[in-house]
Symmetry: C2
Subunit: 263 residues, 2 copies
């Protein structure tokens, strides 16, 4: 999602796009607990005339805040098991379907993450992510190995970063809440400060469909700490979601009235 090289016709189109005021934001959020504060903050309403196919559990909320059309999608509850449809596959699918239906100017993937204290992360820290990659797609064949890691830069937002008091770090994504030794080695190789279960998948789809994406991740648990991840995650989820909510509100206020090149 880095800006394209200049000089080509495509680059000029991208430059023009980057100079139009942002009018439509798409939030992709994995869990209901993470989504509802944002829904409430911006007084978003649930979609009554769904843009998604019949039968899928995906939920869209939408509304207008200042000059921005805000859409928020989350993958909903698993139809059989009733838990939030977390992880890369659901996130990819709902991101794809939402981009197709809503044609947003900017995607914001907001959510909770594990943090590494060795890289400076503390509980309730909110990170603006600089780079994303996968840590559980090991394909030891030349070039396929790079495809598996799927390293991508977030859309560059230097002014947003200067203005707001957010930490910056790299994000590593995998479909497990725990961390195996192989995952850990890949996370170290990815130089990641935070670890989630969706970010790099959202980045992959956004890149595929040429929509700029940024990633705001709040730390619910310290991966290299003493407490078991699942326990710490559930304990901190509600409180950290409030910190995330506040950061998201600041980011949206900053975006309002600006074009992509001003972020």
């Amino acid at each position: 999602m880095a800006p394209h090289g200049e000089g080509s016709e495509e680059a000029l189109v991208v430059q023009d796009e980057n100079r139009k005021p942002i009018s439509s934001i798409l939030f992709v959020i994995a869990m209901q607990t993470e989504a509802m504060p944002v829904v409430n903050k911006f007084q978003l309403k649930e979609d009554l005339d769904p843009v998604f196919p019949k039968g899928v559990p995906w939920v869209r909320y939408h509304g207008i805040y200042k000059d921005l059309h805000i859409n928020l999608v989350w993958p909903g509850k698993d139809l059989t098991l009733g838990v939030d449809s977390v992880g890369t596959i659901s996130a990819s699918l709902v991101t794809y379907a939402a981009i197709q239906a809503l044609q947003p100017d900017l995607i914001i993937n907001a959510g909770t993450a594990g943090g590494f204290k060795v890289k400076g992360a503390c509980i309730s820290d909110v990170f603006l992510v600089s780079d994303v990659a996968f840590h559980d797609r090991r394909i030891p064949i030349p070039v396929f190995d790079l495809y598996g890691v799927g390293s991508r830069q977030s859309f560059s937002t230097p002014n947003l970063l200067n203005e707001l008091n957010l930490k910056v770090g790299k994000l590593s994504t995998g479909d497990s809440l725990d961390m195996s030794p192989q995952d850990e080695a890949s996370i170290v190789a990815n130089d990641a400060t935070v670890k989630d279960m969706e970010g790099a998948a959202v980045a992959y789809v956004a890149d595929l469909l040429k929509v700029p994406a940024i990633f705001i991740k709040a730390v619910t648990d310290i991966v290299d700490g003493d407490k078991p991840t699942a326990e710490e995650f559930l304990q901190n989820l509600a409180a950290v979601t409030a910190a995330l909510d506040q950061a998201v509100a600041q980011v949206v206020d900053f975006i309002s009235g600006k074009c992509l090149s001003e972020l």
Copy 2:
């Protein structure tokens, strides 16, 4: 993808659907090397008026064979790296987009897989998969753990199985070509005979959109054998693809003229 419970209106609709002759098959195939023999066998043509969004690398081939409309999709080459877009995310996306565009009666996910000799798999064996699950989505929170494993039954095809000389086994899916000890423990828990990088993801999307799906997997490498997976996989890919191709042809010939409930 097991048939729904009887007695509901939905169940009656499903029963009716199962009694109509199958008219449209969708192949989902991850790699070009696996796809081309099937394309050639059924003389499928590449789509000139793509049903997929502009910019995505996904490729559709289509044609008519006997009484069947055959579509074949593969996720294409990664736009940056040029390798086949393997793994669960690409497979999920292309399956979703193809179902939406083509409304197939039946999905066939055909491809290569690693096999476990301890479960009776040999190089070039072709398996008709009874069950699929993931082995790299560990979420140790009650119910989320089951969601992560994502165990699903294939569409039941007892007559197809009686008629053709295919082995039957369970399939476990993950995004790595290698196998970590954690993956191995999950694969054992999944009671899997074959291991791939797409099947359970295709099953998830097919289930979400209520399309029956079957899985035909040919063994390119013995996971619990002496040779490194990547080397054995590349060595056997072309030869095993021929065995897969033959099995696929037999399956399509069997399907022709039948309805879902006769499979």
